[in-house]
């Protein structure tokens, strides 16, 4: 019969100890954030109303709503998507379907990693130097959107490349054997099978773009505008910058307002991310190969 020795007992108790240790580390990492978010909801929820979301700020931003900031964020996100999604998908198609395995492809991959890793404030400096000054867009929605687009390009590229590579090679080979060109294969076979995966990447990008503050500070977003932007060369307010402004720059701000802005911003971001995760899970469940 098997008899547990002292060594077995010691091993088992250590096993339990480490399990407990790492488990509590996980809890300590996650719980504070949950508490913080609950506080945010608790303090911010009473502020949020139809008027808060759809009215202009009044009385030096201490009263009224956040509509211009909300609209500005939506415009910036749309602008960034229009620029980065076609470019990012093209880059991913190149990397997944065409790129040979050589130093040049490696250079592209390193550039993508660095594009994601460069500090956001450096992206802001680039946007200012390139779009605002060199291309003479001025501080505008256009300049801010393009800055955000370049910053979030890696998210689209990586997500798209992964979902393209998940399409089995046999699908492509079967199509080529029918005499289709590479592009016909990509357009008819590869892209339709990868479109949900690409969508998860795009939604992630929306969430990231909406939350960024530093890159738009000097390229197109302003603290306060008395009117809504009329075109792409106008400046705009933005939700993320608005949170910074109402929590640091405005004296005698009612304490609840910044909580409301923070809650709207984080709600937007977390909902987008949850949708992206749900879509990915749905996709994983549906996959037949």
């Amino acid at each position: 019969m098997f008899q547990a020795t002292p060594v077995n007992h010691r091993n088992l108790s250590r096993q339990k100890l480490f399990r407990f240790l790492f488990g509590s580390m996980t809890a300590l990492l996650i719980l504070p954030v949950i508490i913080v978010l609950s506080t945010l909801i608790y303090k911010g929820a009473p502020v949020i109303s139809f008027e808060f979301l759809f009215a202009n700020p009044t009385n030096g931003m201490t009263a009224g709503g956040i509509f211009p900031a909300l609209l500005g964020t939506i415009l910036l996100v749309i602008g960034a998507l229009l620029a980065s999604v076609p470019l990012g998908v093209a880059a991913a198609i190149y990397l997944s379907e065409y790129a040979p395995n050589n130093w040049f492809t490696r250079a592209i991959n390193i550039a993508i990693i660095n594009l994601a890793g460069v500090p956001s404030i450096v992206h802001a400096l680039f946007g200012l130097g390139a779009f605002v000054i060199f291309f003479r867009f001025g501080t505008s929605i256009l300049a801010a959107s393009l800055t955000l687009a370049i910053m979030t390009l890696p998210i689209v590229i990586v997500a798209t490349r992964e979902s393209l590579q998940a399409v089995p090679m046999a699908f492509r080979e079967a199509c080529w054997n029918m005499g289709a060109t590479r592009w016909q294969t990509i357009r008819r076979i590869v892209l339709p099978n990868a479109v949900t995966g690409i969508l998860t990447g795009v939604i992630l990008e929306v969430s990231r773009t909406a939350g960024e503050t530093a890159p738009i500070m000097f390229t197109g977003a302003v603290f306060f505008l008395p009117f809504l932007p009329q075109g792409v060369f106008d400046q705009t307010m933005a939700l993320s910058l608005h949170l910074y402004v109402v929590s640091t720059q405005v004296p005698e701000m009612p304490a609840a307002v910044p909580y409301g802005v923070a809650l709207v911003l984080i709600g937007l971001v977390l909902i987008m991310n949850s949708v992206s995760i749900a879509l990915r899970m749905y996709l994983r469940g549906k996959k037949k190969w």
């Binding site: 470019l87 592209i108 990693i113 890793g117 460069v118 450096v122 939350g211 910044p258």
Partner: protein, 309 residues
């Protein structure tokens, strides 16, 4: 039998020069342009920030003064000095404290998720970590400003709660989820047969983890830590709001400091384009770009090495 089969290859090639063939070539060119765009942008970032900051570097620029003087007085009436030593100290102290918090917790969490948690728990934990990583930095800054600040004042009985401690904790909580996901990927990359072999020899779970999995995943974990450092180093909004923003070489974790990134964010809006102050801020940007580029490159080399092996 079939006449087409006996035709020479050239005729076949000629036959293929139809509309679909031309479209195919055009698309190939188009996606190639997309592919090299990332390289163009990285070079573009370097060129444009250098172009704006160059006047400062080739002017009466003193390397020693810039990096080793702690006097950052860009708007002084008598004499403007641009020394970033105190700002470097601010960034280093905050990032250092953040890493002290984030490295053990993110590695512990990654080990728990990858090696201990099972089934649904693992799925939920992974989703939670992913959601935590998505919280925007300005929200973290807001949390530091409105929640951590009074908490630190109460707990430690200090006059100001915006300090190295505050920003370090905020930055640690911010960097930890990202480090956790990368570290977890590294642990998952260790083949299961390693674990099975060790368990077949009678090793317990923690022995498997410490003697087999961790040594095998060493490089990937190091890469995760480096990416976390890069992220903390380049963080702007959270440190702008939570550090207290006073130029200071910190003596304790309760001192207020100012970070390199936050200085650019706070001052760029007030400078005239092309002025010396403006160029000095771009020079800080160049330093940030070069340092993060090197950190990311090393992290990439380490992680790529793991995938190959």
């Amino acid at each position: 039998m079939n006449k087409q089969h006996s035709q020479p290859p050239r005729a076949v090639d000629f036959d293929r020069l139809n509309r679909a063939w031309y479209i195919d070539k055009a698309v190939q060119l188009l996606v190639f342009v997309g592919g090299i765009s990332a390289v163009i942008f990285i070079i573009g970032i370097f060129v444009f920030i250098t172009k704006e900051g160059l006047g400062f570097i080739i002017g009466d620029f003193s390397f020693t003064e810039f990096f080793f003087s702690q006097n950052w007085r860009p708007t002084s009436e008598k004499q403007t000095t641009y020394g970033i030593l105190a700002l470097i100290a601010g960034t280093a102290s905050v990032t250092g404290l953040a890493m002290l918090i984030a490295i053990p917790f993110s590695l512990g969490t990654a080990i728990y998720i990858a090696e201990f948690a099972t089934g649904k728990t693992r799925e939920y934990l992974k989703i939670t970590v992913e959601l935590l990583a998505a919280i925007p930095s300005v929200v973290w800054g807001f949390i530091g400003l409105t929640m951590m600040n009074p908490l630190i004042i109460d707990l430690f009985d200090v006059p100001v709660g915006l300090s190295v401690l505050n920003a370090g904790i905020i930055l640690g909580l911010m960097a930890a989820p990202i480090m956790t996901s990368i570290a977890e990927d590294a642990l998952k990359a260790v083949p299961d047969r390693y674990r099975e072999a060790a368990e077949a020899l009678g090793a317990t779970r923690w022995q498997v983890i410490f003697k087999v999995v961790l040594p095998a995943a060493k490089n990937g974990l190091l890469g995760a830590v480096l990416l976390g450092v890069g992220r903390g180093f380049g963080e702007t909004m959270a440190v702008l709001m939570a550090t207290g923003h006073s130029i200071n070489i910190p003596g304790s974790i309760f001192d207020s400091v100012r970070a390199l990134t936050a200085t650019i964010a706070a001052e760029l809006g007030e400078t005239a384009v092309g002025s010396q102050h403006y160029q000095a801020l771009f020079t800080i940007g160049i330093s940030l770009f070069v340092i993060t580029f090197i950190i990311n490159l090393i992290a990439d080399l380490i992680i790529r090495d793991v995938r190959k092996g």
